[in-house]
């Protein structure tokens, strides 16, 4: 279906440009270990490190559903969305004060103060949550509410970036979230919550 385009002319210009080179630069052989902050991650409990590193980027890691509920209450975030797969596990801890929907209505995005979805993993080194398209119930629910809570299983925390890259797998849309959405476009002043969540929370379970 692609219309006839410039493919051939571009590729032939590329070949022409490279033809005069006597030799081509080789791909260096290296270990990604050099890009790992090893002294930071070595020997650490990954849940603890994830919490520390998330804090550094103004994120928050919790290990109890009750603590999450208290946090939502304290912030006045009383209406939100939860992935239906997660809800049975979380519901017992949510009181009647919090209104939770398990269907996300895109015509009412502003109604949801929080969104709870599943993470496919986390990276302790960088304080990052990993979202996969196949296990995120709604892209919009993980993005549009002010508070995003990603539920991550303890066993799915990687220690560092290269490990997480190696585990990218076949999901078509993997998103690494490292702290809340932010900008420094106005006079270099850091403001959180631009288009995405102003609060990024990990709920580590299991």
């Amino acid at each position: 279906m692609t219309a006839p385009d410039d493919r051939e002319s571009i590729l032939s210009r590329v070949r022409g440009a490279l033809a005069p080179l006597h030799e081509r630069a080789p791909l260096p052989d290296y270990s990604t270990e050099i890009a790992v902050m090893r002294s930071l991650v070595a020997g650490r409990d990954l849940v603890e490190l994830l919490g520390e590193r998330m804090k550094r980027v103004n994120g928050l890691a919790l290990t109890e559903v009750a603590a999450l509920v208290a946090h939502l209450r304290a912030g006045g975030w009383l209406h939100g969305y939860c992935d239906p797969v997660l809800w049975p596990r979380l519901a017992p801890h949510f009181g009647a004060e919090l209104k939770v929907e398990t269907e996300f209505d895109r015509t009412r995005v502003d109604d949801y103060a929080f969104g709870i979805t599943r993470a496919a993993g986390a990276i302790a080194e960088s304080g990052t949550l990993i979202l996969h398209d196949a296990t995120t119930s709604r892209r919009l629910a993980a993005l549009t509410p002010w508070v995003h809570v990603a539920v991550v299983e303890r066993a799915q925390i990687f220690s560092d970036l290269p490990q997480a890259v190696a585990a990218l797998g076949r999901d078509p849309n993997v998103i690494w979230c490292t702290g809340p959405s932010k900008t420094a476009d106005v006079e270099g002043i850091l403001i959180e919550g631009v288009h995405g969540p102003g609060q990024q929370i990990a709920l580590v379970l299991g």
């Binding site: 692609t2 219309a3 410039d6 081509r24 892209r139 993005l143 631009v194 995405g196």
Partner: protein, 461 residues
Amino acid sequence: MRFQQFDQFAAELKADTRAAVYDGSKKGHEKRTKLLFDEYPDPNRLRHLAGEIKQHVIENLDTYLPAVEAKMKANGVQVHWAGTAEAANEAVLRIMRARGATKLVKAKTMVSEETELAAFLEKHGIEALETDLGEFIVQIDGDHPSHIVKPIIHKNRREIAQSFEREGLGAYNDDPATITQRARKFLRHKYLVADVGLTGANFVSAESGRMVLVTNEGNSRFCLAATKCHIAMIGIEKIVPRDYDLALFLNLLARSATAQELTVYTEFISGPKSPVQPDGPEVMHVIFVDNGRTEVLASTCREILRCIRCGACLNVCPVYRQASGHAYRSVYPGPVGAVLSPLLMGDKFPQKADLPKASSLCGACNEVCPVNIPIPDLLLRLRNRAKEENVPSPGTPPMGAWALLASQPLAWRASLLGGKLIDYVPTKLIPVPALQAWAAKRALPAWRGGEFRKWLKARRK
């Protein structure tokens, strides 16, 4: 014209603007340096390695490009190729028209700045909205970005507040948090009614056909959560060989661009949404854009194609800090722009042949560049090209007579001993305008021509 247009521009820059650009760049540079050197024992090793990897890629684009294309197609992506800016814009328009689409939201992409996509689409009746906060402000102001990472580094909050008021986004309020919240409110409803989300790509892995996109604001995520069609415009040089290489590049990019360990959102996109996902694009198009890159590849400055658009060279550059991005009259300002912009002009190279001269060749750019581009060497090559093409260069003294003198020791010594060289051969060795330009603001040391040689002779006796 006695001096360079670029220098005039810098001299006439509003004090406010200069201060904003200067402070913004300086802060960016200092934070970056601290982060890199605190965390890595040898950050230079990382830079050199990344440079070697990218050099390998650009010297093997003839095999990498078809490989990426094949992978992408296998992943369900429709791949297009555009030789020029016009062809790239036309390709977007064609895709939009075929879908009957009228609204596009776009994330920040430098290629689309090159092709002036938003203006092109608007002209064809398509609403094309910038969603990166800085780019959004540039768009409503009809302005141009002046930095490749911080597009509105030249603006202060008062100017922005005035623009928001003018556009009906609320009464005047220059609090950055309020400005951001207003943009958030306004833009989220725009995403939700758009048909197409347009992005660039920071990297494309040849091994998997995966493209990687990094943003802090989350606007590209929103573009790809709210719309049903994703178009990615990608420069043909954006490839890295393997997924394996991404950890190195992501670490370097975030630190170099914004002094973060990792950008807030890193999206790895290999095709349309998952079948079980209700939100997001059902179709994905990639447009590979040349727009002058193959000419750069054929030139002696091909190293500039390693660039990962981090902006670190802008931040550290003393000339950029004084002159601001707009002095470069190009999409790419600063040291990277001084090399890339004239090259991307093709035959019209002379129009921007002054940019490579706007540098003291201090080398700070090379020292910070995460892919170790020898920018000063490239600037020198372009100066040489300008000379070979006889492009006039105001303020630069001619060197022919000097070379003659400096390759004839007798004449050289005569000119030293003959007293004040400045009085002697004013128009040749030190042409008057140059001398005047110096002397207007700087004293010259006393003339001591030949004194050392005399001293040495006496000592040797």
